[in-house]
Symmetry: none
Subunit: 254 residues, 2 copies
Amino acid sequence: MNPDNIRIVLVNTSHPGNIGGVARAMKNMGLERLVLVAPKDYPSEQANWRAVSAIDVLESAVVVPTLDEAIQDCQFVVGTSARERRIPWPLLDARSCAERIASASSSEQVAVLFGREDRGLTNDELKVCNLHLNIPTAEAYSSLNLAMAVQIVAYELKMLSSATDSPTDEQEQWDTPFASMENMERFYVHLEEALTDIEFLDPAAPRQLMYRLRRLYSRVRLDEMELNILRGILTETQKWVQRGQDPESGGPYT
Amino acid sequence: MNPDNIRIVLVNTSHPGNIGGVARAMKNMGLERLVLVAPKDYPSEQANWRAVSAIDVLESAVVVPTLDEAIQDCQFVVGTSARERRIPWPLLDARSCAERIASASSSEQVAVLFGREDRGLTNDELKVCNLHLNIPTAEAYSSLNLAMAVQIVAYELKMLSSATDSPTDEQEQWDTPFASMENMERFYVHLEEALTDIEFLDPAAPRQLMYRLRRLYSRVRLDEMELNILRGILTETQKWVQRGQDPESGGPYT
């Protein structure tokens, strides 16, 4: 994926606040190239205000009079579409579409078109697109704000570009390594031994005890420090049982 | 997944326009329950204007003075967080987190907390959470607009609800209900008291002990039976401390 090859194209936007919101949404997700096709009210203070620290995206935005000029050097054009079309067009949801956009952007110029606040892209505009993109919405209220729609598409692209470094991995954020499965199994063996030693667990009628304890500890995902603390407790407990069973070695109170 | 069990909680929001934007983002994705903790400027015409056709979400929004009141009946609380913490907390990206939220919502009350526009949630607010949620952003500009952040989380939930096979529900598989936040808070108060009684915790130099214990127990998500067992242990421990401090009542071996 090459974000420099991806442009966001807004067609006939009415509200300048939305243009600013789009600029911010783009920069938040690592996109910088904005093209405005005949915006109704631009430049505008309100656009600048909503862009906050993405003012540079607005400053470098290209304003053109027609859609053709916005996309003439593109090899891949995606149009956002809420409506069912009379003649169906290749249509993907934002997630699947983001994969196509990311992949094309490695070697091609890609444009993603967003239409007017009140009625989206026209049929004529949609038919220049290679692919239509739909963002799933609730039936009760399917009209997304323009900047929100850009935010979702840009977010899906960001998710693809950061697939390797996103904190889906709990361990990356943790201060101590989580215990390995091997060490967890040793712990369970040790735990069962110790509970049997203290006669809390009867091996002839174990019921669900070990099962419940395994469930608890696998749920919490012990880190190595916590595991060492628990194993230390088990070892100390077993020493007292040992002394109690062998009077010659001296009981706890000798 | 049950969207009726998911509430979006906005803490100390400054700009009413954002509250309206959040209401619309929610309704677009099928969420209806909005809770406002001490908003700075609400109700407001600007909120209504930005909500557009999600005015019903605003009208049924609940305004409360404290975060505690917003979440006391919840069993699962997620806090959005941009910052790296000194002591890490379980942290997932929005996509993985949405799976956890959707799954819990089938049988539990779930809250997703969003903080102030300028500085998010405080450490005190983040430590009541079971899980922290992070939205991946570009390094160059990582500060998302509040309504955009809600939009992304709501969108991820919508993507799950429109998928054909629903994720397995933790609570449905569980034999005992998970503890509510209210009972967890009572437990932490009790725990801190007991640890102080036995002089394991020095209130003059508490260091990170309670923080680490909160992290452990919120990570495991105690069920009601486990919580009762732990509180029983604390009560019994305190009785022994009481007897030790008051010889007339008899020590443990009399």
